[in-house]
Symmetry: C3
Subunit: 336 residues, 3 copies
């Protein structure tokens, strides 16, 4: 469930109310007055939660659903088990976006107009908060951690011990470990880039996840790390991220990965331990990079990469094959 | 004419003075003491304005010129109509840069050394201005709009109702609509990247346009949007822009476009309604992307793209052709 | 030697102590109690300094070494001259990183928790420091220079006359010339991205160099320029750098270079006078771009480029050859 430190949940909704909000038809034998307390991911849902199933996901997840209700397309509706109310609609993702907005009507940080350091903030006496820095309500700053001038730490954010947070950094909706170095101008925890189509243009999907940064991570200047849509964006222990890197919502990065400057990792990618992602590399969303994989600079990844594999190119291919193609193309101009 | 909220015009100049400043020869029968009040674009110029015509532009624009004076090369000078004084010079663009500097001697924001919120700023009582935020003289902040901590709103900037401006954002020389979301670290309205060559290196062309952002736009963290050189940089209604995107001076974007992270749109590009520009895409300057066109990630665009067209690659080509070439190149290494 | 304005050196170390810290074996006839005062680059070292030689560097540098001590691999140890103590170890670079940490135990800026403007800062009376800007201890701000709101100038930083520093900029460990324009959101002088491998993941190499920016440079919004590891990152006179550009540690850029938006220049590259680097170009580390070379947008450079050469592509090649290959590949799909 969304972290109450960052997102304030409104009261429960009945299945009937949810059907109306979602423009969905309630199917099955469950009482329409049954209360649903929250939204959740498929993995985390309990009987009090609503989930959604888009057509892209495999229908074999359906029988295992633990959720109390599910927004689902007509095509998949009959696979929903009897313990789960099916809310049948044309566009489950768009409907889910509307429902999130009802459970979590405000998703933006509330800032004090008066205090640079909120009275409710818990700042270790050994921490240093430079002039101009802002620490919002209920934020926690660990021992010996240093916040640079004009850094901004949002409501409920927790930062561990011995961290260095540079000037002009903004951190919201995030939990940060120990010995993390965040260079100036980094933006962490803002909304992910999620929309659904509509006749009047793209409609925003509320982003109610977090960013979790584990111990010993270093993040280069002016990077951007978006929070998860519903789950979390996770940066594993000892990852080292260079300047101007983009990490999108729900990316899960293992331990000790290296991401060189200006690389971009799209939504929900999974990066294995020790992977090395070169400069200006781009990954499309929902792909998996295996442990220890090496991605050469400027490569464009549109498929999974196996553990230990070294790839290069646009689209990325095994590095030897890339150079073979470069040579073949050069020869072609000599022949022809 | 440049917006007086952002740029303070010095007094008028005679044609004779302008010729001297520009290192130009005044040609035609117009009185050299005729006063010119301002600089302007070809489209907007009146008889009180000076324009310039570089050799790149088509000479068939010349007979329609409404301007009172025109910096022009020898080759094009005789096409200038009798109502317009021709100021003939070797490099009209460089000369125009000098003249702009005379009409608009200071183009940088003037900041208060004392006030975070200038007494002349007009802030709706329902707006929230967080601690550390700066609102400069004559800026306007609309109803229910929220400025995050340490956000900076420059002199004369107007922001509409129900906007969210993140922490550490800077906005200068811009007009922002309603319900606009600007994520942390975004920089809007700084000088475009314009130079002319000179023997001592590149010489800056003053940038005296604006940024106009229409309603319902969302702009991702650490994006940069430069103001126009003379006209405006325009982001149309409901455009959604991801993190770390670069939008150069005088770009004109239609409605409901999507621009994914780390894409870069060079100067004076025109983007049609509903176009989708993928991550890390690059557009060279002065090209047009038609409505609904789709540009795949990392593509490099060096020519116009028709409405509805889907392109990919470097240089970009129709998406099927891209994949055909990928396959052909792979086959080549097997044969050879 | 590292600049004492930015880095506080701890006391000298004996050769014996250094050998223990580095896990190295002291070889040769020099007294183990000999004191070493500092670390240095090969070029700058004197007899009081320690240097390191990685296997990549040519062994013909060895006889000319002026340093008093050298971390070196077994393979190269016997080439070290008798005037220089050889500290033999398996990984000289990793050992050097440890030793830097002993000579320079703290490498981060110390910020005041109270003062926006430190009492020891020297600010010319004609300079303008906007509300919210921070000027740390011993920083110097020249005549008529303007600091935008919430800009941050670190300890010991010197900024010349007639500069414009935008809002939300951070500058540390840097010396800035005259008439330099730094647009909003730029981050200058933070740690370079340097690590050595270890069994528990990448280990940080302390970065104790500076950034030197010469006169008349312009730097676009949200750029990042890292300081040198040991020497300096240098931007030559009149260079013009567009938005969102990444310049890594120890890059040395000549005069009047142009770097267009979102380009990335990796560590220790050398860029000749007047070179033009297009948008989204990437350079791998340690390459040299000759004077006046032109690099087309999105190119990926993996080798040196000669003066005046024009290249394009991934990998970059002469521009005509690039287009020849584009044409050949297109023809291939028609034949096949």
């Amino acid at each position: 469930m969304p972290d109450p430190r960052f997102f304030h949940r409104a009261g429960p909704q009945s299945l009937a109310q949810l059907a109306e909000i979602a423009g969905a038809t309630l199917s099955g034998s469950i009482n329409p007055q049954t209360q649903i307390a929250d939204v959740a991911t498929l993995q985390d849902a309990t009987s009090a939660d609503l989930v959604y199933l888009s057509d892209k996901k495999l229908s074999d997840a359906l029988p295992k659903i633990k959720a109390g209700a599910c927004l689902v397309s007509q095509a998949l509706a009959q696979g929903v088990p009897a313990t789960c109310a099916a809310l049948v609609c044309a566009d489950p993702r768009a409907a889910f976006a509307k429902v999130i907005g009802v459970f979590y009507p405000t998703t933006t940080s509330s800032w004090s107009t008066e205090h640079h350091i909120a009275p409710s903030a818990v700042i270790d006496p050994s921490a240093i908060v430079a002039a101009g820095a802002v620490v919002a309500e209920n934020a926690k700053i660990g021992a010996r951690t240093k916040l640079g001038p004009n850094a901004v730490v949002g409501p409920g954010v927790a930062i561990g011990d011995d961290c260095i947070v540079g000037a002009n950094v903004t951190i919201t909706c995030s939990l940060i470990g120990h010995r993390v170095i965040i260079h100036p101008g980094v933006q962490i925890g803002q909304d992910g880039f999620g929309y659904t189509a509509s006749p009047t243009g793209p409609v925003k999907v509320p982003q109610i996840g977090r960013v979790i940064i584990h111990d010993d991570v270093e993040i280069g200047a002016n990077c951007t790390i978006d929070r998860g849509m519903l789950g979390d964006t996770i940066i594993g222990r000892a990852c080292k991220i260079d300047n101007l890197v983009q990490i999108a919502h729900n990316v899960v990065m293992g331990q000790a990965c290296i991401v060189v400057s200006q690389a971009g990792i799209a939504g929900s990618c999974i990066i294995g331990d020790g992977a090395m992602i070169g400069p200006q590399v781009g990954l499309i969303d929902h792909i998996t990079i295996g442990a220890g994989a090496q991605i050469a600079g400027q490569s464009g990844l549109m498929r999974d990469v196996a553990a230990g594999e070294a790839v290069m190119g646009y689209p990325a291919k095994p590095i030897r094959q890339f150079w073979r193609e470069v040579a073949a193309l050069a020869r072609l101009t000599k022949r022809g």
